[in-house]
Symmetry: C2
Subunit: 328 residues, 2 copies
DNA sequence: GTGAAAGCGCTAACAC
DNA sequence: GTGTTAGCGCTTTCAC
């Protein structure tokens, strides 16, 4: 079934059918006839032929580092919701945490004539910038600050400071901060610095730092080594995954949280509520981030002015894993 | 940049360029010239124009019930891996657990000329069957058995029986089975029946059953009510989510697993290893399922013979949450 | 309001 | 091996 068949059935020219399909002016009579024929035949236009001419394909491409990450999935839910109600099509591509594939995907999406690209930020290299520039379609980067590219980032300053204050407000003086490698700007640098800033607002606070892995299993092994050595009464982990790893290690070593020490993470992952005690964390607005990403690219597509950097708010969620210091 | 521009730059006809692009025979000289020009211009063919002619678009569509489910994501990882190395493009559409959207997506993917569709099975209705029939492209359904449509399902019989045997082999006689509603065929019926069968192979085993929710929070509340009343020394939950909920309730009520009772789930979810003790479960091969789904549609596309129903193996993973009954 | 005609960028006979 | 030509299914002037 092509537009030609429909035109023939209706006894009109295919251009008339095209107009009918695209909301151009058509006589009532023709319209009704066409209505009927389209209904009967179940005709629907070939999207490729349409896209061949059209400037817009109504496709939005996303590039995510992995399919099995809590935050990615939440963000995607947000994106999908927003896109769906606007009848836009979502294409998800997976870079498998591989910079080369990330760049490849930028070009691939451009080749598929995606109207815009939402890139879930990891490390942004010059090759990224080059690709983004070359494809010449709106791109927004999520979660990582970038010069010259529109980005949506978390308010790491707020998150870290709030957490730091929360911990000291409970009376903790000796804090263990489990951080990650500095190469990660958002978490390794900004978040860490903000936590320290929050903690330091109280004098006489001692902060001990240890670098651990992003990966649960590795962090768990590291935690088993670290826990017996620390004198801290509160442990702040820069991600929930690390906090979960610490909790597991603590159980294993027969520490009781929060009696032996308070524990907190960052992210607001679901898993922090399924363990017991539930873990105090900072909830990042992943779904909202996804939605905002869509409204942003839409504005960009309409050539509206959008701030190059938008900051998402987050909030501290105090749960059972942190409590007032117990004097012993 | 179109094929015409390239042809002009090279001083050949565009059909030659097309042949060059598609691996047809081209003289060495022309090839080298074209190589250079393509590299310099960064030209890449318009996929829409290609797809307009081609029978195949190299796009595989998937329809998933939600973006934030562990099993879906694992399966998608498997699909993506397999697709990626074959240079096939993955489109993921979300039905948001909504039957109407699921059907819509079938048609939408067909309209986009997806070569095949992988549908993550929930409840399969006649409308599904009708749509699948109408779009007339290969469809495979994952995780739910369907008449007349190719499907990949888990071996619930094996999973349930193995688990049942494991528990009785530890000496447990009084078992609490936390199951879900019967409307779910795979889990509510098949899995439950198999567990009971496995348990019953040992005489003198008493099984108590309680129906609980699929949803963590609800199951957790129910577990808090159920635990104090049961005399069971082992609790089998038909999903890991339920097992996690029981574990949380147990902690809360100061039961110690596995001393007070053994606990087991089904699924092999990651979360069962991050809690402590780690939970005994049956690992379902989600990634492999995804990969198999791809090889299956590929065979279908090549008009090869494929069994209408393929069964995936699974395996019991014994961890810390189950132990020999302690005589008290 | 409608139709004829000219592409959109590419592929695939077919003849040379 | 290469060029010519005729589409793929649709949109979009531009006359009428």
């Amino acid at each position: 079934m092509t537009i030609n068949d429909i035109a023939q059935l209706a006894g009109v020219a295919k251009s008339t059918v095209s107009r009918y399909l695209n909301g151009g002016s058509v006589s009532r009579k023709t319209r009704e006839k066409l209505d009927e024929i389209v209904r009967e035949t179940g005709y629907s236009p070939n999207t490729f032929a349409q896209s061949l001419k059209a400037k817009r394909t109504n496709i939005v491409g996303t590039i995510i580092p992995r399919l099995d990450s809590y935050s990615s999935n939440e963000i995607l839910e947000g994106i999908d919701q927003e896109l769906w109600q606007r009848q836009l099509q979502l294409i998800i591509t997976n870079s498998d945490q591989n910079v080369a594939r990330e760049i490849e995907n930028i070009y691939a999406l451009a080749r598929q004539k995606a109207d815009a690209i939402i890139l879930f930020g990891g490390v942004i290299t010059n090759d990224h910038l080059k690709a983004i520039h070359e494809v010449n379609i709106p791109v927004v980067i999520l979660g990582q600050e970038t010069p010259d590219v529109h980005c949506l980032v978390h308010d790491e300053a707020h998150a870290g400071i709030t957490m730091g204050r929360h911990i000291t407000s409970l009376g903790h003086q000796k804090i263990l901060l489990l951080r990650v490698k500095k190469e990660d700007r958002a978490i390794g640098q900004l978040r860490r610095a903000a936590i320290i800033e929050g903690l330091s607002q109280k004098a006489s606070v001692e902060v001990e730092e240890q670098e651990v892995s992003f990966v649960f299993e590795e962090a768990y092994q590291q935690a088993k080594l670290i826990l017996p050595k620390t004198k801290a009464t509160a442990i702040i982990c820069v991600t929930d995954t690390i906090a979960l790893a610490v909790m597991k290690a603590a159980h294993e070593l027969s520490y009781v949280i929060p009696n032996d020490f308070s524990l907190a993470g960052f992210g607001g992952y679901n898993a922090t509520t399924i363990v017991s005690p539930a873990i105090t964390t900072v909830r990042y607005p992943y779904r909202e981030l996804g939605k905002k990403a869509v409204t942003t690219i839409l504005q960009l597509l309409n050539a509206e002015d959008v701030p190059i950097k938008q900051i998402m708010k987050n909030e501290l969620i105090v749960r059972e894993s942190t409590q007032k210091i117990t004097l012993s």
